[in-house]
């Protein structure tokens, strides 16, 4: 009985801000409600049927998968490499750590503006550099072929630092004795040490980082909303941006809710599958 006063504040918050909205979204997904409508009509699975044949959604889902497929592996490997390199370096460790972590703490929208300037066809230093090297100027963010890889590069830049910090935490938990033992046992080249000790002992961290990176890249929104708005010709349309536009621009709340439900369900399935696959080969201490 005494427990209730302690649990209740949290429980109320949980119900009001998590459970009710979740149920709300599922319920709304079954209606054709638009923001401002005075009447709500039950629409059954109409929204979901529409969603299957919706070209924009299919496009945005494919784009999101492609984006995640580019960002997750590269940002994980890069983060691991940065962590190992920074931790082994004898000078400027704190500087490099903060420098690579900076993209994580800075506001993505503000950073997006910076990237837009960097990649600007006329004013940006990237294009200036390319023309210096004799390459033609390129409008990275306005080309159907390059816009998604460019956004992915920004995403990698943003995620790698975050992953680096997680890997550094994992590296610190590896006892030094193991490296000493490995050196005496004959594994003394950096690469041998990495395969014999670092990578296997980083297993649980690696699993966590892969899942987190995947989820983070699947939720890409800020860069798309502030730089490309899904264009050109839906080439950078991603799921969250589609949901945002349906819900907050067209006010199709019912449809946006259906998109959300499908998005979350897919995310959940992909995460579980991934976790199962990797978990088998991870060693826990």
């Amino acid at each position: 009985m005494l427990a209730w006063p302690f649990v209740l504040p949290f429980l109320i918050g949980l119900i009001v801000f998590l459970v009710v909205p979740c149920i709300g979204v599922v319920v709304l997904a079954l209606t054709d409600w638009q923001l401002g409508d005075s009447a709500i009509r039950f629409a059954g699975l109409k929204n979901f049927v529409q969603l299957i044949s919706d070209d924009v959604f299919r496009r945005s889902f494919t784009n999101t998968m492609l984006y995640a497929a580019m960002v997750t592996p590269v940002s994980v490997v890069l983060g691991l490499w940065l962590a190992v390199t920074v931790e082994r370096s004898s000078i400027g460790r704190a500087f490099f750590r903060s420098a690579f972590f900076l993209p994580v703490v800075s506001t993505t929208v503000a950073m997006a503006v910076v990237w837009e300037f960097l990649l600007h066809p006329a004013l940006g230093p990237v294009n200036a550099l390319m023309s210096l090297m004799g390459l033609p100027r390129h409008v990275f963010l306005n080309d159907v072929r390059t816009v998604l890889p460019t956004l992915a590069a920004i995403g990698i830049w943003e995620n790698a630092g975050y992953n680096m910090v997680l890997f550094i935490a994992g590296l610190k938990a590896i006892p030094n004795d193991l490296y000493d033992a490995a050196a005496v046992d004959g594994a003394e080249r950096p690469w041998e040490r990495f395969w014999t000790v670092t990578l296997p002992l980083l297993g649980p961290t690696l699993l966590f980082v892969i899942i987190i990176s995947f989820l983070r890249s699947f939720r890409v929104f800020e860069t798309v909303a502030s730089i490309t708005q899904g264009g050109p010709q839906f080439a950078s349309e991603v799921v969250l941006y589609t949901i945002y536009r349906e819900g907050f621009v067209y006010f199709h709340v019912g449809y946006a809710s259906a998109l959300t439900v499908v998005f979350v369900a897919l995310l959940l399935i992909l995460t579980v599958v991934k976790f199962r696959l990797i978990d088998r080969s991870v060693h826990y201490q």
Partner: protein
């Protein structure tokens, strides 16, 4: 076999080793012992090649090894934490030193043995060696287990086996017993000594526990504040410590050290009029060292040092009596090995010292190479009455 000369090492501005010279013969079992922080682990790591010395040379088997990486030194080491690879089975742990040495980088790849008969044969040979070594430490039934599925003692055996599997020139042990419980420690001590005798591998054993050093090693090196204080057999260190720190460190229960004086050739403990004996030494302040077993307890009487029993420790085969010397109240420990009841707490007792075994140190703590002769042998000495009076 192993030759260290003038080894110095500092971490930052803290000197850890200050000019260590040490020479170890083929097949010897040497213990490096000292209180924590004396630099003994650093010394071992220097020999293994995990640290480099600021000054001095390390040579193994006649070859200068100062700049060689650990792999090239052909030494094996057992760590205090055992440092087993947690993701590998016992068999893989033990095989790693062989795999790293006998297979090339390409041959080590997991699928290569399927395609190359040479590699498959090498792997089979490694497997056979691993099994043989596992037999040596009775770990054969556990080859498929991971370290976390083993008890502390079993992990320790795996660490030993991993070190022995490639028959190294030099076997280094860094406090390998300190993570074991007391009974296991005692049995493991004998096992390691047996194993070393059978294999004849030159072994350097680092420990802070003087009992381990005394019971296992054929020679002990006492390291204190980064320098070798004394080297010798366990018996030498116990009976003739050259330095008061060695005397204090070696032996359990610890030696009694009491301030004393030499006056006209007669030795007394300070504050006690009773003469201990005659010394051939100039007058001055000394420190008197008496091992607890070199004290005989009896009733108070002439020629005996009066004391009061303050506390008793019953150890089964013997009783340790903590007494307080009458007069200055100096604490003193005596071993009471006589059958029958020991004097109760509070009882007044008389102590007799085995005069010829008493150790004398000068004020700086160095052993004074002088014999102490019993007064009874010179009862009729003319000066005696004078001195006692």
């Amino acid at each position: 076999m192993l030759e260290l000369s003038g080894i110095a090492k500092s971490f930052g501005s803290t000197p850890v080793l200050r000019g260590v010279d040490l020479s170890i013969e083929e097949g010897e079992f040497v213990a490096v012992v000292g209180p924590s922080g004396c630099g003994k682990s650093t010394l071992l790591r220097l020999v293994a090649g995990l640290e480099t010395a600021d000054e001095g040379t390390v040579s193994i088997d006649g070859h200068e090894a100062g700049d060689l990486p650990p792999k090239a030194r052909d030494v094996a080491m057992v760590f205090q934490s055992y440092a087993l690879y947690p993701h590998m089975t016992v068999e893989q742990n033990m095989a790693l030193p062989l795999v790293m040495r006998q297979l090339t980088r390409v041959e080590r790849l997991p699928w290569v043995r399927r395609f190359s008969r040479g590699v498959a044969e090498k792997r089979a040979a490694i497997r056979a060696t691993v099994r043989e070594t596992a037999e040596l430490v009775a770990m054969t039934p556990y080859l498929d287990r991971k370290p976390k599925q083993l008890s502390g003692g079993q992990r320790q055996r795996v660490a030993l086996a991993r070190a022995l599997v490639r028959k190294p020139k030099l076997f280094l042990l860094d406090e390998p017993l300190s993570n074991l419980d007391a009974s296991l420690r005692a049995s493991t001590r004998t096992e390691i000594v047996d194993l070393q005798k059978r294999l004849g591998i030159t072994t350097v054993f680092v420990t802070h526990d003087q009992v381990e050093a005394m019971t296992m090693a054929s020679r002990i090196v006492v390291l204190m504040e980064g320098a070798v204080v004394q080297t010798g057999s366990p018996q030498e260190l116990y009976e003739a410590p050259t330095d008061i720190r060695v005397a204090r460190f070696i032996g359990s229960p610890a030696i009694n050290i009491v301030a004393g004086r030499v006056d006209a050739g007669f030795l007394r403990m300070s504050g006690i009029s009773q003469i201990i004996g005659r010394v051939d030494k100039a007058d001055g302040v000394v420190q008197v060292g008496v091992r607890p077993e070199q004290v005989t307890l009896g009733n108070i009487g002439p020629g005996r040092i009066a004391a009061t029993v303050r506390h008793k420790e019953f150890l089964g085969s013997e009783v340790l009596l903590h007494v307080e010397l009458a007069g200055p109240g100096t604490p003193f420990v005596a071993r009471y090995a006589v059958d029958g009841p020991s004097p109760p707490v509070g009882a007044a007792v008389g102590l007799t010292l085995k005069t010829d075994r008493v150790l004398l140190f000068d004020a700086a703590g160095q052993l004074l190479p002088v014999g102490i002769s019993d007064l009874s042998s010179m009862r009729h000495d003319a000066t005696l009455a004078e001195a006692v009076g």
